[in-house]
């Protein structure tokens, strides 16, 4: 589904964030990418989303070179990917309901479908009583659950969760991880980027370890070892 082929990303002449990175993610996989801050985890997601182009090498999404796609094709790919971020990246001017509905509106879905799907996802995520609240009126855990709801509502092919538990307490952390596992069991590919040792060790799934922009380990049932 996603393939990195000898990808190198250099920002300024002497800042190589990723160096010669190659790996493949198959459909339905749950893969964790671990590494310290600055190891290049977020750059991986930006390359998949087409927000950056690799300096060398190629990133493929469903056999298509992401760097070769035009704006409308990139937008289509982004709609197939649900993103969850540490800082939530919600739309502050929209309510809980509108934040989730926006993703469907972007895709041009009809109002009847939106009115059916959004309440369903919000109920699943436990936010059905807060539909009219704005993000700033929610707790950190609720905001992250809203971000998960937004990522889920379009039934994406992939969920990319970039440090999704970084701002959460242990209770909310496990709630989010449990949700991601549940989504993965339903067939969605999940890419989890984290530096949370406990989560990785409990998951027992494939782990790619990044150090200084290079992959030093790629194990099917990996543990957090840096």
């Amino acid at each position: 589904m996603i393939k990195f082929d000898k990808v190198t990303k250099i920002y300024s002449p002497d800042t190589a964030v990723l160096q010669d990175v190659s790996f493949e993610i198959k459909e339905g996989e749950f893969i964790s990418v671990i590494g310290k801050s600055g190891a290049g985890k977020t750059t991986l997601t930006r390359l998949i989303l087409g927000l950056e182009d690799p300096t060398f090498g190629t990133v493929y999404f469903k056999d298509k070179n992401v760097a070769d796609l035009d704006a409308s094709e990139i937008q289509k790919i982004r709609r197939k990917i649900g993103c969850i971020y540490q800082d939530y990246k919600l739309l502050p001017g929209k309510t809980v309901y509108e934040n989730v509905a926006y993703v469907m509106e972007v895709e041009g879905k009809g109002n009847s479908e939106i009115n059916k799907e959004v309440p369903k996802v919000l109920e699943l995520i436990g936010l059905k009583d807060k539909v009219d609240n704005f993000p700033k009126q929610l707790s950190g855990g609720e905001q992250q659950r809203l971000a998960v709801a937004r990522a889920l509502v379009n039934h994406p092919d992939i969920i990319i969760a970039d440090e999704p538990t970084g701002n959460l307490d242990p209770y909310n952390t496990y709630e989010v991880i449990f949700l991601l596992e549940k989504i993965n069991k339903a067939g969605t590919t999940v890419i989890l980027l984290t530096h949370d040792r406990e989560i990785i060790n409990k998951l027992g799934k494939r782990v790619i370890t990044l150090v200084g922009g290079r992959i030093i380990r790629d194990e099917a049932e990996g543990r957090f070892i840096i």
Binding site: L51, E52, Q75, R78, C83, L91, P92, G93, V103, V106
Partner: protein
Amino acid sequence: MANLKRIISFGFQDFSRNKGISVAAIFVLVVAIMLVTELVFFQGVMSYLILQVQNKIDITAYFKADTQEQEILAVRDEVLEMSSNIKSVEYVSQEQALAFFNEKHKDNAVLSQALQEVGDNPFLPSLNITTNGDPLKYAEVSNILENSDFGGLIESVDFSQKKDTIEKVYSITTNINIFGIIFEIILTIVAMLVVFNTIRLGIESSKEEIATMRVVGASNQFVRGPFIIQGIIYGVVAFIICFLFSGLFAFFLSSKMSVILPGFSMWAYFLTNWWIFALIQLGFGVAVGVISAVVVVKKYLEV
């Protein structure tokens, strides 16, 4: 179509939810539009003044004392058809010329006495010709009069004596017009920059939001659209405020302006040209609002 409806609805939603930014943008737009409106009023006043000055400039063709009135009236008709630049031709008989002189100098005993000593009516019958104000046209008319078939009836044409004055007045009015246009352009640019900056500050607070919209796959049009709609709303609301304000301004200041400029009614000028005011205010407001939104959002849409 569904997308357009959504974009419009998002635009209205953002407009009503970001009250602080909306009020600030409208306020600055109102100031800018009023500035442009003042310049339209200024142009009106200037045009009126120029017209008044130009109407006071004429060419006088003096006929020989023995010329028959019928002949002069025939010349008048010919002169009227001579050039499209001739606005009017007025016949002044010897008697009328004397009456005008007496009326004008009724308090001047020396002149009245001098006139009595002359005995006969010394004034010649004449035609007062008014053109569109361009000195070149005056010269053209003057030449035609002196060299035409009826040139033998004419004693003199006083254009050459007035030539310098006419050229001076014309040059002043032209300069005032040019200065007005330059002033207008500079003020409009300044006003546009101020509005652009205010809208830019408003959109900059949505920088993160725009980034998020892009990540979830929103097309550029879908991201940009609501901001453009907001720009249009700012422009329309500012136009309504300015139009009402201009009307009130013209109505209440009209009498005061008439004292300074007799014959000029600001209110009548506004009523005659209301659609020009509306077009300029609406066009300026909406254009500046929309252009600012497009330019600022474009910056954040570039990957």
